[in-house]
């Protein structure tokens, strides 16, 4: 759409800017402030320069947390996106059962995150949880509080349980927007099921899948509450993702300087990656249009 040039439109944006600035800029400045100062308590601060940044950048702890975080985000994206698309493709297109599916699938999305954690904490316990008990009875040695791998699997399965539906709903919405004529044309052209997916459904879902990947990536990168409730970051540091590590550092040990420096870099990493995702995906789209 052609947009009119009008700088007075700023007045309409002003409330948003004021509101978000209040919640974003001031706290961010506080963080920046901490990140370059040191304190011996009593609210006496002095300039520390880039000391905290260097310290955090060199700390093995940060590297490990970052690595775990990447692994986690990659794993859940690799599971949730294909699974979500597959489920969306299998769903009834309309009618009563489609509504039932949508309502049931959206349910996990609306459960407070610590309740999600609690549900899985209970569900996975060998003594009182259905999953843990079943696995134990099947002879599987499963214990998410002791075994790092089990803890990981539990957290990943929980995230899949919690968020795959978002991908399903987005993909389903994308599929719904495909006019019936495309499917009819494909039948006339004798296209196979795979080709219908590859050349009709996938291109039409691209827009919403981009949103799905971006949202899932950002949110998984910021994940805190659910794994914290289930494993508390353990056993050891096996499931200590970036946010958990950060809160441990800031509130647990009250290392404000490093925590703040850590926060900033963490934020920048998310920004950078989101930007890369976004650019890569929209560029491939543009290339398609321009060629």
């Amino acid at each position: 759409m052609e947009k009119t040039r009008n700088n007075r439109a700023w007045f309409m944006v002003l409330p948003v800017v004021a509101l978000v600035a209040f919640s974003a800029v001031l706290p961010l400045m506080t963080v920046v402030n901490y990140s370059v100062q040191d304190t011996f308590g009593n609210n006496v601060f002095f300039w520390a320069g880039t000391e905290w940044f260097t310290q955090v950048l060199e700390s093995e702890r940060m590297h490990d947390a970052l690595w775990r975080q990447f692994l986690f985000s990659a794993v859940i994206l690799a599971i949730e996106v294909p699974l979500g698309v597959a489920v969306a493709l299998c769903m009834p297109k309309k009618g009563f059962w489609a509504s039932v599916c949508l309502v049931l699938m959206a349910l996990p999305l609306l459960i407070p995150w610590n309740v999600v954690g609690t549900i899985w904490q209970v569900f996975g316990r060998v003594d009182i949880g259905l999953l843990g008990w079943t696995l134990a009875n099947l002879g599987v040695d499963y214990n998410y509080t002791q075994n790092p791998l089990d803890a990981w699997i539990t957290v990943v399965v929980m995230d899949v349980w919690h968020w795959t539906s978002l991908v399903v709903l987005l993909a389903y919405a994308g599929l719904q927007s495909i006019p019936q004529a495309y499917y009819q044309a494909a039948r006339i052209d004798q296209a196979s099921r795979w080709k219908v997916f590859r050349y009709i459904e996938l291109p039409k879902m691209k827009g919403v899948l981009l949103i799905a990947v971006l949202l899932r990536f950002m949110d998984s990168f910021m994940i805190y509450t659910e794994p914290f409730v289930v494993t508390g970051g353990g056993p050891g540091t096996a499931t200590t993702f970036l946010s958990i590590d950060l809160v441990k550092m800031a509130l647990g040990q009250f290392d404000l300087g490093p925590a703040a420096a850590f926060s900033l870099m963490y934020f920048l990493v998310i920004l950078l990656l989101s930007w890369v995702f976004y650019t890569v995906m929209t560029n491939s789209d543009k290339a398609g249009k321009g060629a």
């Binding site: 947009k3 700088n7 948003v16 509101l19 706290p27 599916c101 209970v122 569900f123 950002m218």
Partner: protein, 266 residues
């Protein structure tokens, strides 16, 4: 419907429902039964856990608090996002693209980063432990999202509609409320849904910013850790109750989900 499709969908829903079933199951059991072994249906059926929650103000006020700040957040987010989204969808102005991106970056800000500064900020302005504090804090990620969603829907409305309305003598506010908002009603519904959703499920900020008066239900749940160990039944009942508002909301918007989740930008 093909049998394979049916199987995939059924298995997936089964996977989603099992943990919820287990929570529901537990919430109707006394603690002795929960700890006594696995039973698939409550053998000593009891609603005592729910009675406890509904008779103890420190429990049920948690719900009231949560619902209050979620409602406030939804209203505030939409009220400021609507004109802004209109501006982004209709006009180009100095720095519009940068502004839009800056707004979206706040959606990417990890709450963990902001928890402590928020605590200090709201304490210093005297809003600590109030509903409005939580509502404002949640605006940080809900407003950008609402602007983003609404902008997508508004772009789908042809500009000629605006122009026709002006020619017919509508003032901008009247045009916006009487003509434009009904046209993007499903978009507003979806934005409200997302605001509700993310405000309702968030815990880190809402817990950091409250102690007693505005404490959310989800945080109240941690109270079940007492001297005698965890009160599992009570925990489960509280959990079940936190699912209900979400379930209601989904039920009401079920017909818009398909259209709305495309966010107007397919």
């Amino acid at each position: 419907m093909k049998i394979g499709n049916f199987l995939v969908v059924t298995l997936y829903i089964l996977f989603l429902m099992l943990p919820i079933y287990w929570l529901l199951n537990m919430s109707f059991k006394p603690n002795s039964e929960i700890l006594g072994g696995i039973t698939f249906f409550p053998r000593n059926f009891t609603v005592q856990n729910y009675v406890t929650i509904f008779t103890d103000p420190s429990w049920y006020m948690g719900y009231v608090n949560s619902i209050l700040y979620v409602a406030m957040n939804t209203v505030i987010s939409l009220a400021v996002a609507l004109p802004a989204a209109y501006a982004f969808s209709r006009y180009s102005f100095l720095g519009d693209k940068h502004l839009f991106f800056w707004l979206l970056t706040n959606r990417m800000a990890p709450p963990a980063v902001f928890a402590l500064p928020f605590f200090q900020l709201y304490s210093s302005v005297g809003l600590f432990d109030t509903h409005i504090a939580v509502a404002l804090a949640h605006c940080l990620f809900n407003v950008p999202l609402a602007v983003w969603i609404l902008e997508g829907f508004m772009r789908g409305v042809p500009k000629e509609i605006d122009e026709t309305a002006y020619i017919d003598g509508y003032s901008w506010p009247r045009f916006f409320v009487k003509i434009f908002m009904p046209l993007i009603a499903s978009g507003i519904g979806v934005a409200a849904f997302f605001c509700f959703m993310f405000s309702w499920v968030e815990l880190l900020l809402s817990r950091t910013l409250t102690t007693v008066d505005a404490k959310p239900i989800a945080a109240t749940m941690t109270r079940t850790v007492s001297a005698s160990g965890l009160d599992w039944g009570l925990l489960a009942a509280a959990g079940v109750l936190t699912i209900i508002p979400g379930a209601l909301v989904v039920f009401f918007v079920r017909n818009y989900i398909a259209k709305g989740f495309a966010l107007g930008r397919v």
